[in-house]
Symmetry: C2
Subunit: 300 residues, 2 copies
């Protein structure tokens, strides 16, 4: 199998500037990318949201790619229309002209370089394993469809292609670019392209034979007051502790009145997206994952 | 002189959550504040912007307090109206019922705890000196009216009262609260109230007899392409270097095409607000200040 068509996507969330800036870097600084074994498309997903410096105009674009919604022409938000256009350009979903998509995001959480998979096929896991050996501070976060939507479909842009991942870098505020975070996204993207070029040419590529995958379990809400408003902050011992085990009894929130809320889960889960700005709207404080070690050396 | 009425203000910019959360903390956790020598008003300045998680609805509220604009009833933005209401509640400007205002802000820049003065009277400088002795990582940033507006007036909310300052804490993304940054704002606010309580009671208060004040000189724009779009990022050697001297020839920007832009100022200025998200709109990359040592022991 060779990878013929790759899309590198930025600005799916308009206030996450690392993606659009990375697209510019690739265009200006790496013209040699045009002369490799694959076609490369550099694609700004939500130009209107980027121009307006907001996550989205009407609705989260990265929740707009369920097959059901792509087929539903009664949806008329800016992003519902934009998703159908992107489905034409990069898809169509389930029968996609694009083999692999890297969708570049950023987060206010301390998540290093997260490879977020919506499909844990062996190709993706081996690619993620390769990136883990090349790039410091890489974590692999897998979101099974049933854990997220309750059925077998995914609403993420990445679901348009069989291969690839969302590349999530942070911590960084929305609406700014930092050289260090941009460089992490750049290095991870170029390492991914190197992997594919070598595989396409039948060259050997080294990766670890096992990887640790953090599998999504559930989202945890902030404590709310009687009006439904958030009345606590992330506890200081949890802040920035993404991908670290969270033990039973550990403090997770400090309420305005001073009370401490502790973790009641019997299993040691691994929190991610701790204090992500975009999730305050949904009252979500962090998500829990289960850490699994997976063999990736059984090449099919 | 005693300070009779104090206002602690948060949410002047609706996406800077530290302020509104600090107001809640003060209400829930420090009820004893009601029994001191001064009246304390806890005030959410821009509730609509806070609810919508944006800096402002129509226009920057913290640029809406020029005397001329407060008197201009043809201005009809949400913030132009809100400024007139706040002028009634806390002002009126030039004849204010409020003696001292602490207006709590946050920044994506690495500015520690910045005491931003729009009035460098001796009371404010002594208070700032006291805070410098009490709180780690304090910087005093003075914005002379002529440097900013070109005339003798200020557009900032703080200009409603003779005493006080904007308390600027960071670095922190917009739209999140962090325990560490919130604690810095809390400590600085309570230290300020302690100072006033002691002064009101005629007690001795220790502060250093000199302070370093960073005086605003000018704003520096990002390099722009031929379409007027930003085509560079803050150079890695400048990022996070707020309040550090910037020498002639030091790199300040890296352009998309790889070219480095260096600083051409002959004088060693001190940059502040480096990579502040809110200023991308105005294409401003950072501001320059001049460091001055000022004696504050000549009590009047």
């Amino acid at each position: 199998m060779t990878i013929q068509k790759i899309a590198i996507v930025g600005g799916t969330h308009g206030n996450e500037y690392t993606g659009p800036y990375l697209l510019n870097l690739l265009k200006y600084r790496v013209p040699v990318l045009r002369y490799l074994t694959f076609d490369l498309k550099i694609f700004l997903a939500n130009p209107k949201a980027y121009q307006n410096k907001v996550r989205y105009i009407d609705y989260d674009l990265n929740r707009s790619f369920l097959s059901e919604d792509l087929a539903n022409y009664s949806l008329d938000s800016y992003e519902a229309n934009r998703a159908k256009v992107i489905n034409q350009v990069l898809g169509p979903k389930e029968n996609s002209k694009t083999d692999l998509i890297i969708d570049v995001h950023s987060t206010t959480a301390n998540m290093g370089v997260s490879i977020i998979l919506v499909n844990n096929n062996m190709f993706n896991l081996q690619l993620a394993s390769f990136l883990s050996t090349r790039i410091p501070n890489v974590f692999i976060y897998y979101i099974p469809p049933e854990a997220y939507t309750g059925n077998n479909d995914h609403p993420f842009l990445n679901s348009l292609a069989k291969y690839g991942f969302a590349l999530e870098v942070g911590p960084i505020p929305n609406g700014v670019v930092r050289h260090d975070i941009l460089l992490q996204a750049y290095d991870a993207t170029l390492a991914c392209l190197e992997y594919i070029e070598k595989k396409n040419k039948g060259m050997d590529v080294y990766y670890e034979s096992t990887v640790d995958v953090y599998e999504h379990v559930s989202a945890v809400e902030f404590p709310l007051d009687s009006d439904g408003k958030i009345d606590a902050i992330i506890h200081k011992e949890l802040q920035d502790m993404d991908y670290k085990p969270l033990e039973k009894g550990a403090p997770i929130f400090e309420k305005f009145d001073g009370r401490i809320v502790v973790n009641h889960e019997d299993e040691s889960f691994y929190p991610v997206f701790i204090n992500e700005a975009a999730y305050y709207d949904k009252k979500i404080a962090f998500s829990l994952t289960r850490k699994k070690r997976i063999r990736v050396d059984n090449i099919t």
